[in-house]
Subunit: 274 residues, 2 copies
């Protein structure tokens, strides 16, 4: 697979820092970096990574998020890794007997933006693969983020946990339209996409309806005359629901012409054959 | 790592089906299954998996989500894989020149619950690792889900894409604490009323597409042969957008027959016992 290293045009200096505590596998560091890149995070700190640093497996698994891998900072202790931060969120599936505020990733997304707006520097803590964060580590954080996960199958891997929190961060960036690189490539605006055309006008739609109904009359489709108004109404409802573009109205009229032309040709053929 | 196989106590029969199209790596199938398990999904279908099925790498990567791996269904074609579904969401980072509704994962979460509440069977389509879904595959879906992702680093891996959509599904399950079918939020297209009928299945829709395309071939509509795939795709997108009922599919097929005069041929075909 061609892996391109792509550095976003704009790295938001206020975006929260991700801190992986004692990660065991380079692959997980890499996939976490990729998830960060997807959603506008880029500052990655590692506390005591098991296999040391740099780690080629991490780079490979980052699938091109080299700008994150190249900027990784490594610390011996969690205390050092969070020393410059104002507010730290710990992610864990299981808050364990601690008096601590627990919020959802969605609430964290909102809270992070509010705090960044107040000039705070934020950190997101993720635990090691097998047993997450220790109580002592969690106690260094201000608040716990817990995703509403299926209690029968609650273990998220690190990259998945990073992804969810980063996703909730970026939703608010994208929503405001001020996010990464948006000057040239705005995020896709939800809604019906109509490239190279525009919604049909009522007049164009009515033209289509009448064209279709005439062709059906011609084809003797409305055999039960009293049913015609109901059928016509249903057809119009159906076509309206499709929210047709001007281009599509023209396409449908072309189809009606093509199909009804076929019928008359065949009729003629039949007549000639008799 | 000790991997325990854990089957959740309750598997929701209405939870959307996940369909992976032509997945290349067993690991990705497994991590997708794990992400599904985290957020209450469990029905997994594979279309033409590169390395066949079963796949031990998939089982290993599923980290205990054996109840999903054991229930995987494999299909040769996407058409067969979605035949029994009423509404299909395609996930893609880049809607490419198609007139198609685009929604966010969050909107999809609400929409899925509203539709499940109406008795619809839903499918979530995810593309192959390297290049996602083809335009033809996307055109078989009703709507596109696109996450608001960093445009400079937009490629999500399959398990990450599955995770986000499953997360948005499960947020509403967990949020209400009372399970499916009671979403307070209206669907994207609020309350499409279908008295005396039901939404068409994919199989019925594909039957309609093929009928129309044959009739158009017969009518020599596709004069510029190289344009045929694009036109076919646009027609399918248009018809999907209308969210046709089973009754309406029959009506449209009657119209095609009436307009094209192909009734006798079709009947003959049926007699020959296709």
């Amino acid at each position: 697979m061609a892996i391109r290293s792509k550095t976003p045009k704009h790295l938001d200096p206020d975006a929260p820092v991700v801190i992986l505590v004692n990660p065991q596998l380079g692959e997980n560091i890499g996939t976490a970096a990729r998830a960060m890149a997807n959603f506008g995070l880029w500052q990655l700190r590692l506390v005591d990574p098991r296999d040391g640093w740099p780690n080629e497996r991490a780079r490979k698994a980052a699938s091109g998020a080299d700008f994150i891998i190249d900027n990784v900072e490594v610390f011996d202790t969690l205390e050092e890794a969070i020393a410059d931060l104002h507010h730290v969120y710990a992610t864990t599936a299981r808050p364990r007997g601690m008096t601590k505020t627990v919020i959802t990733p969605e609430e964290a997304g909102r809270d992070m933006h509010a705090r960044v707006g107040q000039g705070q520097k934020l950190g997101l803590l993720f635990g090691r693969e097998r047993w997450g964060l220790t109580n002592d580590e969690v106690s260094l954080a201000d608040v716990i983020i817990t995703a509403p996960v299926n209690p029968d199958f609650a273990s998220l891997n690190i990259a998945q946990a990073v992804l969810l929190v980063a996703y909730e961060w970026y939703r608010h960036v994208a929503g405001e339209g001020v996010g990464m690189g948006t000057a040239e490539a705005p995020p896709v605006k939800p809604g019906l996409q109509m490239p190279d055309t525009r919604p049909a006008t009522r007049k164009e739609l009515i033209g289509l309806f009448e064209h279709l109904e005439e062709a059906l009359d011609e084809a003797d489709y409305f055999r039960a005359k009293d049913m015609k108004p109901v059928i016509v109404r249903n057809l119009r409802n159906m076509l309206e629901r499709a929210e047709l573009s001007e281009q599509e109205v023209r396409t449908l009229r072309g189809i009606i012409r093509a199909l009804s032309g076929l019928r008359s040709r065949q009729r003629q053929k039949a007549r000639e054959g008799d």
